[in-house]
């Protein structure tokens, strides 16, 4: 410990009059009510947050359902476009010729 610090400590008034915190009945009532109000506000805040999250969850679930429905639509459309009927109706299919003569290499 440095000398300067030791000096400062020596000059301090080492006796301190203990402060007595005393609340009258009105102040005590006020403090209790204030504490209750603060706790109530905190509780309401949490409840509101939970409620808002519920709506957010509902909204996201609805979005998910919508996206899944779109995915289904696209799967069906893709399957339709690749179906035998659709394939046979394409211009490319009209230009195909049957394989009547096939030679096998043994």
């Amino acid at each position: 410990m440095s000398t300067a610090v030791m000096t400062a400590r020596r000059n301090q008034n080492l006796y301190r009059q203990p402060t007595k915190l005393q609340l009258g009945p009105t102040s005590a009532t006020f403090v209790v009510i204030a504490l209750i109000v603060v706790l109530a506000l905190l509780y309401l805040n949490q409840i509101t947050k939970t409620g808002l999250f519920t709506y957010k969850v509902s909204s996201l679930a609805a979005q998910r359902a919508q996206v899944l429905a779109q995915k289904q639509d696209l799967s069906v459309e893709a399957a339709r476009l690749q179906s035998i009927q659709s394939t046979q109706a394409t211009a490319a299919a009209h230009h195909m010729v049957p394989t009547d003569q096939v030679s096998y290499v043994r």
Binding site: S58, A69, A79, Q82
Partner: protein, 594 residues
């Protein structure tokens, strides 16, 4: 300073007030006790019902896929579409025309139809009429934007068949109550449908569930998806060939099956006429929903001679070279049972010739030989034939193929009245016995593969959510239905039938040259529905065969009902059988045998 009387008065008033308050407090306490303790259960239940709602969480129906060469392709999917409905009580009589016109402009349907539907419902006092269903989400958005009073839209999960009419009877359809009908949709309905989930949740004033710890949720179990054994390319080809032939010969209906003889896997199963399962409700003739291959039984005619001959060969009673003197007709009891095309009597006809020329007397000869006395029909011989038909080849009972309305066919027992000599003589060549196409193909498959009777089946694999397929093992119903020697003999005899007998058109115009094909035609009369004989001039023709005969890769059966042209199965079914074989040789890359 108040005097004494005033003080007394004040005290009395105070006492009365205190007493009043006490009484009020007691009444209030009793009432609260009654409501909160005595009636606790009742009010709790009311409160819960007010704030808690139960919802069904629908399960996704399993999807169906078929093979597409080495890949797979969907044939039954799910799609969320819209139902357009109207409540006529919200649409004034004057507004109906306008509403109908606006809806028609949006959907492309006829305004008159909508107006008629709304007015009919209004006249009947109905508050709900479905105007259209299966509307796309884009179209639904368009209708919603019109903001028409009394018109609404609801979403509904629909089954969609992207391949349209392909394999319609095999698949069946799902009705408006989400129940599978006909085909595999009905047969596997419980497993395809899955289990719906449940949610019991507290809700807000708008009915939106609030996430709380008290909510009870049971997750839905989605339906099982399957891969079928059907190959869509083969299916499309046989459907096309069948439709062409039914139209060409002006027939009433027809069916085709292609089966793998090594496992019983059905590669194609076609019925004609057909329908579109996406619009099943527009079908007026419900008979088209039936699968011609499994749901319809018929008398097979000469196709059955194969199995009578199999019994004779297996029992060692005849060989391909065994001869008999063909009398043209057998006189049985008080009847003459004859060959189909005239009497054609002649000496020393071989068993190979019996199949090649399809001689009824020849298989009656085999039936006689099955008994102890070769000169007459005996109960022992008939019983033996019955055993071969039913226990060895599986006729007379359902095969167990995954089709909801499969029928069993009918084989008369030898021991009862229907098992008389005339009936059994007829049964030996396929009259008076009913079978299904799928039974015939399975039985012919057993001859093709050396004696193994496989259960014909349509489900190839179960499909998990991540797309992994778990194969379903084929089921061997019976091994060694006939001996190896009998099988080889029959195989050679059926090759002769295909090349030189009634199957000669398989090779017509140079078709299928170099390939060995085995098979047998069958032309049968059609019994009258009341059982009083046969319909004049009507027949059902079939050809059941397999190829290549030395190492079969496929069994094919073609059936044509009530053709409008002259001729037997040789004319109506063999040409299309030949075309199908020709296509399959190329598709599978099977080189010619020679």
């Amino acid at each position: 300073m108040t005097n004494y009387s005033d003080t007394i008065l004040q005290r009395r008033r105070l006492a009365i007030l205190i007493l009043g308050l006490a009484i009020f407090g007691v009444v209030l306490g009793v009432r609260l006790f009654y409501l909160q303790v005595w009636q606790h259960g009742k009010y709790l239940a009311e409160a819960i019902s007010e704030h808690t709602h139960k919802y069904d969480i629908p399960a996704r129906r399993g999807e169906l896929y078929v093979h597409d060469g080495d890949g797979r392709s969907p044939v039954a999917l799910n799609q969320q579409l819209n139902v357009l409905y109207a409540d006529p009580s919200y649409i004034s009589a004057k507004a109906r025309t306008t509403v109908a016109q606006q809806l028609a402009a949006a959907t492309g349907a006829k305004a008159a139809d909508y107006q008629h539907q709304i007015e009919t419902a209004a006249a009947a006092g109905s508050q709900y009429v479905v105007l259209a269903d299966r509307l796309s989400n884009d179209l639904a958005a368009k209708i919603k934007a019109l903001n028409l009073a009394g018109v609404g839209l609801t979403q509904h999960d629909y089954r969609t068949y992207p391949e349209g009419t392909l394999a319609a009877q095999v698949l069946g359809f799902v009705n408006a109550s989400d129940q599978g009908q006909y085909g595999i949709e009905q047969y596997l309905n419980d497993r395809l449908a899955g289990q719906p989930g449940r949610l019991a949740a507290k809700t807000d004033t708008r009915g939106i569930p609030i996430a709380t710890a008290d909510n009870v949720q049971q997750a839905p179990v989605d339906g099982q998806s399957y891969v079928l054994t059907i190959d869509r390319n083969i299916q499309a080809m046989v459907e096309s060939e069948l439709a062409k032939q039914v139209q060409a010969v002006h027939a009433a209906s027809g069916g085709v099956i292609v089966m793998d003889p090594a496992s019983g896997a059905i590669r194609a199963m076609a019925s004609y006429p057909t329908f579109n399962p996406n619009a099943y409700s527009k079908t007026t003739d419900y008979s088209v929903f039936l699968n011609q291959a499994a749901d319809v039984q018929f008398e097979p005619g000469s196709g059955m001679k194969v199995f009578t001959m199999a019994a004779g060969l297996d029992q060692g009673k005849v060989t391909p070279d065994t001869t008999y003197d063909d009398p043209g007709c057998y006189h049985i009891d008080d009847r003459n049972v004859c060959n189909a095309e005239g009497d054609k009597p002649g000496p020393n006809k071989t068993m190979t010739a019996v199949l090649k020329d399809s001689l009824n007397t020849g298989v009656m000869f085999v039936l006689r030989k099955l008994g102890a006395d070769p000169d007459k029909f005996t109960l022992a011989g008939k019983q033996l034939l019955y055993n071969y038909f039913t226990q060895h080849f599986g006729f007379g009972e359902r095969t167990g193929i995954e089709q909801a309305n499969e029928v069993a066919g009918a084989v008369n027992q030898a021991s009862n009245a229907a098992g008389n000599d005339v009936n059994y003589a007829n049964m030996s060549f396929g009259q008076g016995v009913s079978v299904t196409m799928v039974q015939m193909v399975a039985a012919m498959g057993a001859i093709a593969n050396g004696g193994k009777l496989w259960q014909p089946h349509l489900v190839d694999a179960r499909l998990s959510a991540d797309g992994t397929a778990t194969p379903v093992a084929p089921k061997l119903v019976r091994d060694h239905v006939i001996s190896q020697q009998a099988d080889q003999q029959l195989n050679q005899m059926l090759e002769v039938v295909a090349r030189h007998g009634s199957g000669w058109r398989i090779y017509e115009n140079g078709k299928n040259q170099g390939y060995n094909i085995a098979g047998k035609t069958g032309t049968a009369q059609i019994p009258k529905p009341d059982g009083t004989g046969y319909i004049e001039g009507a027949n059902v023709g079939s050809f059941t065969g397999y190829a290549p005969a030395e190492s079969p890769k496929f069994v094919v059966m073609v059936r044509i009902d009530r053709p409008g042209v002259d001729g037997y199965a040789e004319t109506t079914t063999v040409p299309v059988f030949g075309d199908i074989c020709s296509w399959l040789f190329r598709y599978y890359g099977i080189p010619p045998s020679s």
